[in-house]
Amino acid sequence: MTLNLLFRAGLTFGVLAAVLADPALAQAPAAAAEPTVNKGDTAWMLTATVLVLLMTIPGLALFYAGMVRTKNALSVLTHVFYTVCVVVLIWAVYGYSLAFTGGSSFIGGFSKAFLAGVTPDSKAATFSVGANIPELVYIAFQMTFAAITPALIVGAFAERMKFAAVALFIPLWVTFVYFPIAHMVWYWAGPDAVDAAAKALAAAADGAAKTAAQAKLDEVNADSGWLFQWGAIDFAGGTVVHINAGIAGLVGALIIGRRIGWPKELMSPHSLTMNMIGGSLLWVGWFGFNAGSNLEASGGAVLAMMNTFVATAAAALAWMFVEWAAKGKPSLLGAVTGAIAGLVAVTPASGYAGPMGAIVLGLIAGAVCFFFCSAIKNAAGYDDSLDVFGVHCIGGIIGALLTGILVNPALGGTGIVDYTAGKIADYDFLNQMKAQIVAVVTTLLWSGIGSAIIYKVVDLIVGLRVTVEKEREGLDLTEHGERAYNM
């Protein structure tokens, strides 16, 4: 956490220690040591950050572009590339501050706008007491998450949204939807602050000191996001990224309407080669996404890596074999999409589930997402062009709920650390599932309603959809004046 918070914790401790200096009273324990930054953790986080960027450009960009028609491929690439660039800047200027500083439990404040006060020596907490990482790398790492989340949404309304609408939508969406949800799920004071306050409480000898120490501990615990306080767990962003983007995509697809000619006209993917390349880059980059969310190069990271391998493989095969049985042929698009569904589902579970649990999670995610993207989507009749809802929202919900089950040590999970008690808490199925459900529903409502409002606002300002002629001609030429291919 910041030096400021540590200083306050240490100061409280110092005062208590001075009060208890009377030899007649119990001995005050030594003040908590200053957290250290280790080069291995920093090196890993630098790498993980770059891997997550790779996921978006070119991973997601190619994954999506390969699935649209030739005449729109460039427009999809542009949407994703633009999103990265604009969110990077917004994050640095005010996004990080809104998401990851104290304020309310729903949103932070502007204390670190323009990265005020952040230097290369500033530190950020990890999940281990005493271990920190440079705050700037934490900022950069989270920045790549803020960038990929809105980039996921563009798949839902591909091939028919004006670039001006996308350009306006993205900044509004990250500001009013992403930053609050990231804050609610992930913001907290950090283990060092909680541990210091808990130790101060344990050391407090008399009633007055105990009351003061308890108040301090309560204050530290309250300095966190609303869903964090519920106890909802989300290791790398099942709710913050996937359910969030997924529901925003569905709402967008419903508001903008179906593509002309859908579903009767031929709209096959123009390059499944490109789709597979993009999907594979997504898998590779996802190791940065999941294992990097451990914030240290330690056991949690290696567990997340293993889970990211097995869940993905299981989901890819599950989709492929279910499709083979249901439709008669196993498809590459299915296998790659299944892999992505597995990656999405394992995201919240990656640092909590055991590998065998992750396999089960992958199998379920692959099969369920297949049924969603084929049977349910066709029955419902909405044109979520690139299955953002079917893969990211549904996969994210599966992951978020199964995380609550698979974290159970009896099922190979890690259990959840109680930093106040300084040990792993007893697994409580009902309360954990309640917390997970609250997180899922909150995300669906906040993002669903928030996104709907933003789409409407953008529609009023620039209009969402291109004209019929432009849609027929193709967005590459009409919106960007370019062809993806000049062969």
Binding site: L266, S331, C373
Partner: protein, 112 residues
């Protein structure tokens, strides 16, 4: 003069070209086309969406020949391009009014 236009299955190109060379026809134009006749298409499935694709890839070969050679060219192409399966293709013959070799200026049969 005639233009003999043949729609054939793509993998038959080399065989047709070799047979035509053997009877003294030394030039042709080839275009990649799509089409269908009695050959049915196939179904493609992308995630949930199924498409019935009736257009199949074919090659269109065009050869300009003297009128008296047209029948021989038709027979040669037919023999080379035939597999006996539906979708072998069709041959059409058009009258050709004039021909010019651009490099030398030769006209009509001398240009073929």
């Amino acid at each position: 003069m005639k233009i003999v236009m043949a729609i054939i299955k793509p993998f038959k190109l080399d065989e047709v070209r070799d047979s035509l060379t053997a009877i003294g026809v030394h030039g042709m134009t080839v275009t990649e086309v799509k089409g269908y006749g009695r050959q049915k298409g196939h179904t493609e499935i992308y995630r949930g969406t199924e498409y019935a694709v009736s257009f199949l890839p074919k090659l269109k070969i065009e050869v300009a020949v003297p009128a008296d050679q047209a029948d021989k060219v038709i027979d040669t192409i037919t023999a080379a391009a035939k597999t006996g399966q539906i979708g072998d293709g069709k041959i059409f013959v058009f009258g050709l009014d004039q021909a010019v070799r651009i490099r030398t200026g030769e006209t009509d049969v001398a240009a073929l």
